[in-house]
Symmetry: C2
Subunit: 166 residues, 2 copies
């Protein structure tokens, strides 16, 4: 059968299904477990956590409220480590990117939006967040709970898995 205008012959329907999934896939489907430290964690312990958990960025939360206060990357850690600081004493709060400069994503946002944010803001990982809820059930606007992590690794995996259909 010849392809007609407006129609396209698909030899493999799974190919189409994969493509459709790509356009609708949500962050919730691809996110990883977040690796979190508190503001008072030392640079040295943060580096240890980075290696033990095998991630590229750590999310920093307030010790009491557990709300998101910072993100610290391999490069942030490398920069402070080559300086004069005593990395056993200095806390991650000194070297991290702080709120409100942290770029976040929501679980029901698309993977494509996550990809755009990672590229546009030149970052390696986005914390997946939701608002903390106050006693009356209202969302607290400035208090973000970290519920996941989406990195360039997760995005690359989406494309790699698509390739399985080749």
């Amino acid at each position: 059968a010849k392809p007609r205008v407006g129609y396209f012959h698909l030899q493999d329907n799974s190919y189409l299904a994969e493509i459709n999934k790509l356009y609708t896939k949500e962050v919730a489907e691809v996110k990883s477990v977040p690796v979190v430290v508190t503001e008072k964690t030392s640079i040295y312990n943060a580096i240890t956590t980075l290696f033990l958990e095998d991630v590229g960025s750590l999310f920093v939360v307030d010790e009491e409220d557990k709300n998101l206060v910072g993100v610290i990357s391999r490069k942030d850690l490398l920069k402070i480590t080559i300086g004069d600081a005593d990395i056993n004493q200095v806390p991650v709060s000194v070297a991290m990117t702080r709120m409100p400069n942290i770029i976040t994503i929501r679980a029901d946002d698309t993977v494509l939006l996550a990809a755009k944010r990672l590229v546009n803001y030149e970052i390696d990982a986005l914390p997946v967040v939701e608002n903390f809820i106050d006693e009356s059930g209202e969302p607290l606007e400035d208090k973000l709970k970290v519920i996941g992590r989406v990195s360039k690794t997760n995005i690359t995996r989406v494309l790699a898995d698509l390739g399985l259909e080749m």
Copy 2:
């Protein structure tokens, strides 16, 4: 018009074109300029290069032949920096991943294959290589010339650009 079995109605042909490009796109179209140091470069200078060039991995070449001998990542640099080594004296060759353990890619391989390798081998960047040619015009099997870099950033950008069509 109702979709029929084996056909799919496409409201937007650019969407199809984008998808097709995704399956056929080659590394040559998305690769970045490689950032290269020699085996004798100090850890400290490698770190400086990493920040100046704004990359996550450096490729290490032989000082004379310029063939690929290693790859050094942010984590390799971080690991040696928190140790006892004098990072102004110690060369990158001490901390790098060496040939033949380096995963590479060719310019005419697909972006999907690059994505698979990045995920499967858990690395951040692949050197794009070609063989050096000897005097008689034959490719030298073990001598690889670095002609580019494909990282998870390049892959994420492919997906982010696809999203422009949404």
